[in-house]
């Protein structure tokens, strides 16, 4: 067992967990943050993507203990109170989700992608950068559209790095 201290969505939490506890288990089971999902066992589907110290990572491929001392932002921590993050708003506006299961990971990946490309994005780049996120419902068409729209909106708003979680 290890004592793990992580700042999650702005709140520091300390828990004692089995060393084999994955970060995603810690978030879902110990903290009840069930917005982060598990869709595969081989680190490919991206449903579990969260931000650790400002970078998108797969929380199913990281021990909670590895994240001790780090800051984690999950889908639950993205909106600013009642105000949706521009990427969340764009996913809704452009119908970038259907069943919603891959959506939290998609949105966290998209925020990270936009943050890494303050110069802006084009369709080919968005498609290439979605390599680590699988969606079975949308055919990606509207996800790509939503990310491009959010990137443009955040660029205009000067928010490229606003929520560098």
């Amino acid at each position: 067992m290890s004592e793990v201290t992580i700042n999650v969505n702005g709140r520091t939490v300390t828990k004692t967990v089995e060393d084999r506890t994955l970060l995603v288990q810690f978030l879902r089971e110990d903290l009840g943050l069930t917005g982060t999902h598990v869709g595969c066992d081989t680190s490919q589907c991206g449903a579990c993507v969260v931000h650790v110290d400002g970078k998108a990572v797969k929380s199913c491929t990281m021990l909670a203990a590895q994240a001790s001392g780090s800051s984690v932002v999950t889908i639950e921590g993205l909106a600013d109170g009642a105000e949706l993050h521009p990427v969340q708003a764009a996913f809704r506006e452009h119908h970038g989700l259907q069943c919603g299961f891959c959506t939290p990971g998609m949105i966290m990946a998209a925020v990270d992608m936009i943050n890494r490309h303050p110069e802006g994005l084009d369709e080919a780049t968005v498609r290439a950068e979605l390599e680590g996120n699988i969606c079975r419902c949308t055919g990606y068409h509207n996800i790509v559209k939503a990310i491009l729209a959010a990137s443009a909106a955040m660029g205009k708003a000067g928010k490229g790095k606003a929520k560098a979680a």
Binding site: F101, P104, Y140
Partner: protein
């Protein structure tokens, strides 16, 4: 159309919870005292179970119990069944082998459950599952349907001699043979439809909770049809009587058919909950999904298409062998028969059609309906052979199709279906225009200069949605009726709840169903709630599959709305001292037509519940229910055109353009319909280019994770050009046809037609992986 009514591009109501991480899926459910189940699964494709020793496992830390099939049988839990009876052409009923939720004496595919461990944590349950000692005697396995029919093949079930489940036919064999004999041209092909794994992104899960005080069970499950699940678990599996079993399918992360069926795991979780006295949760990992979810497709077919000298189709002869896996899944028997062979006429006048279908057992996961279910197989077969015919006849494939289109409706095909409405030339024209079909030769030349092989291919599909009427499907062997239910509850403050037997797992029902109400009563969609997925809330329903929720589910809502409207108008007429026939509903108020007299919607509703001033003899309240049983299938159709570029050095295919022109009849929310088409096309392209489920000859699944099974990713796909035309469906009140499966049905042949056009070799099977395309190019060079 109002801002939120029929035809409006309304952003989805349900999105708020999904984009903020507040969705509630089965794995998110926590019940006090809940424990975790892990199944012990067979590592062998075919083996006798000699002995199961659970002693060591039971002693492991955190383990509550380890349960096996013998205990389950002793408690009277029934075998899993297939609910659609098919008779062979000799009149004998299909041969259904026994399928116990936990195997007792024999296992027939890798991943079949033989025991379950219940422990405090999932990790402990997994540790203990490894400690369960199962002694097997391995038997020879067979995985390919064609091999399973051969003499001397390993035999799976004593009930099914030669592994044959049924040998079924449809159509007029003599007429077909006669037409082929005198045909000017006959195109012959061997067609394989590759096995697929559905891969909804949410793995299946179940949480069973037995409440001792009430002697009552609750099952949270990843289901597309919780009511059917309750019915089947009660009536056939003896889990509990219906009044003692509540099934809840909360947010469900995609289904595509794979979550229609009732699987061993939910039955076992319920049973194990009573047995252990604790709520039991099981969540599949992805490898379990690959091993145990019902797979799709897996057909091998010989086909002949005959033409007269004017290139008119005269006959189609089809001989199909379909692999149903180790056991007959819930609707498996209907897929290669009534959902497949009845669509073989496609969009064409073909005077004579005959299809023979044999289904067989193999040592593979059960196969059942997967997005499209039979219709993709029919479309792939027909559209590949039509395209090939055009090449053999030396005519433009579009014009060969156009020449043979059905143009007058209703049209009775030789294979049961009676098409009610359509305009196939309109879709073809729209697609050709959007694809700049005429400009293709120039693009091909330009690509050649870049060292790329460019090809174009099309596919003109038809499908049948909203399987019905119930009496008709009953006469064809269905074990259930295929109607839908709805209840509309107007609350005293005028807000509205719509209870539906349809189930949304991505289709956006909370929005589209609300739009129906908004259109009818002029109320904002925010004041409408859609209630679904819970057998304690909705009385009965048949669920969502086969693109039925629009055509059937919404039609039931319309019927209930009709009743609500009639009563509301009576109340308003009474309040306004007007004639009932003069009342119109506009912008959230009931008005006397041509006057300024009106009563707001909410006041009428309040009046219904205060009951202070109702027409004489009227019951208080405002709540109406309806059951809707369609009079016919609906027939969406369309034309898809795919353009590819093949890299001749690597065999890699790029989809450079994909056009879809669909006719779905009337449309409630175009944004959602487009989304359905996008997703369907991606799955169809996945089948054509990327996805292929492979077993080795010993029955081990080679593609058991995303490391080996290729899921379509964003980079594999282009943006799609989609459009719709409209011939309203005459058989339902909304004139809608359904759009959930079209993309997956129409796209695979368009892709393969395009690639074979590009590489000049028609001998190519799905998935057309780079390796296969490269090999086909090498073979073409040699000839």
């Amino acid at each position: 159309m109002g801002m939120e009514g029929i035809g409006a591009r309304v952003a989805r109501k349900e999105d708020k919870r999904f984009i903020t991480g507040a969705g509630r899926y089965v794995d998110d459910m926590v019940v006090p005292g809940m424990k975790h189940a892990v199944f012990v699964r067979s590592p062998h494709a075919h083996a006798e179970i000699r002995k199961i020793d659970v002693k060591k496992a039971k002693a492991m830390p955190g383990v509550i119990d380890v349960l096996v099939g013998k205990q389950l049988k002793a408690d009277g839990i029934g075998n899993l069944i297939c609910g659609w009876m098919i008779h062979s052409k000799d009149g004998s009923p299909m041969k259904m082998g026994a399928w116990s939720p936990l195997a007792v004496d024999r296992v027939r595919y890798v991943g079949e459950a033989v025991a379950v461990v219940v422990a405090d944590t999932k990790g402990q349950a997994r540790d203990a599952a490894e400690a369960v000692e199962v002694s097997y005697k391995e038997l020879k396995a067979v995985t390919e349907a064609v091999d399973a029919l051969k003499k001397g093949a390993p035999q799976l079930h004593p009930e099914a001699e030669g592994n044959l489940i049924y040998d079924w036919e449809i159509g007029d064999a003599k007429a077909v043979d006669a037409a082929i004999a005198k045909a000017a041209h006959v195109t012959k092909m061997h067609i394989v439809n590759n096995r697929l794994v559905p891969n909804a992104m949410e793995p299946r899960a179940a949480l069973g909770h037995y409440d001792k005080a009430e002697d009552h069970y609750t099952c949270w499950t990843t289901s597309q049809n919780p009511h059917v699940a309750r019915l089947v678990m009660s009536a056939f599996y003896n889990v509990a009587p219906e009044n003692k079993l509540r099934v809840i399918a909360p947010d469900v992360g995609g289904g595509f058919g794979s979550k229609i069926y009732i699987y061993p795991e939910e039955i076992v979780c319920l049973w194990a909950s009573k047995k252990t006295g604790v709520p039991v949760k099981w969540v599949a990992d992805r490898t379990e999904s690959f091993l145990c979810d019902a797979h799709g497709r897996d057909h091998v077919t010989e086909v002949q298409l005959a033409f007269d000298k004017d290139h008119r189709m005269t006959a189609l002869k089809v001989d199909t062998i379909a692999n149903l896996g180790a056991y007959m899944s819930l609707f498996s028997s209907s897929v290669p028969t009534y959902l497949y062979a009845t669509l073989l006429s496609g969009q064409y006048v073909i005077p004579a059609i005959h299809a023979n279908v044999r289904t067989v057992y193999t040592n593979t996961a059960p196969v059942d309906a997967y997005r499209g279910a039979g219709r993709p197989e029919a479309t792939y077969l027909l559209e590949r052979v039509v395209e090939t015919s055009a090449r053999e006849l030396g005519v433009d494939p579009a014009e060969l199709r156009r020449k043979n289109f059905i143009t007058s409706f209703p049209y009775q095909t030789p294979v049961i279906m009676c098409y009610d409405a359509g305009d196939y030339a309109a879709s073809l024209d729209a697609a050709m225009k959007a694809a700049d079909y005429a400009g293709f030769a120039k693009r091909r030349e330009e690509a050649r200069k870049r060292g790329k092989l460019r090809g174009i291919g099309m596919s003109n599909y038809i499908e049948a949605c909203g399987i019905a009427p119930s009496a008709a499907v009953g006469s064809l062997g269905a074990g259930v009726g295929l109607w839908e239910s709805a209840e509309v509850r107007v609350n005293a403050v005028g807000t509205i709840e719509v209870l539906t037997g349809s189930h949304s797992h991505g289709q956006g029902h909370e929005t589209t169903f609300s739009q129906l109400v908004a259109e009818r009563f002029g109320v904002p969609i925010e004041s409408v709630s859609i209630v679904h997925g819970d057998t304690d809330k909705v009385q009965m329903g048949m669920g969502t599959y086969g693109s039925r929720s629009g055509a059937v589910g919404m039609s039931a809502i319309v019927k209930a709305l009709d009743k609500v409207e009639a009563k509301a108008k009576k109340i308003a007429a009474h309040l306004l001292e007007a004639d009932e026939g003069d009342i119109v509903i506009e912008n959230g108020a009931l008005k006397v037509a041509g006057t300024d007299k009106s009563v707001p919607w909410f006041q009428m509703a309040l009046a219904a519940y205060t009951a202070h001033n109702l027409p004489a003899g009227m019951e208080p309240g405002l709540k109406e229910g309806a059951f809707y049983d369609p009079s016919n299938f609906t027939f969406p159709a369309g034309c898809y055109i795919c353009e590819v570029e093949v890299d001749p050095e690597t065999g890699h295919t790029d989809i450079v353009q994909f056009v879809a022109a669909d006719d779905f009849g009337n449309i409630i929310n175009p944004m959602i319909v487009e989304g359905q088409v996008h997703g369907g096309i991606a799955q169809g392209i996945g089948q054509a280019l990327l996805e292929g489920c492979r077993y080795d000859s010993s029955g081990q699944l080679l593609t058991a994770s995303y490391m080996d099974y290729t899921m379509p990713r964003a980079g594999d796909l282009p943006s799609f050009k989609v459009s719709t035309s409209n011939t309203p469906c005459p058989s339902n009140p909304l004139g809608i046809k359904g759009c959930g499966e079209a993309g997956a049905i129409g796209s695979p042949p368009a892709v393969i037609n395009a690639i074979t056009d590009a590489i000049g070799n028609n001998d190519l099977t799905m998935p057309a992986t780079p390796q296969k395309v490269w090999a086909a190019l090498q073979a073409a060079k040699k000839h």
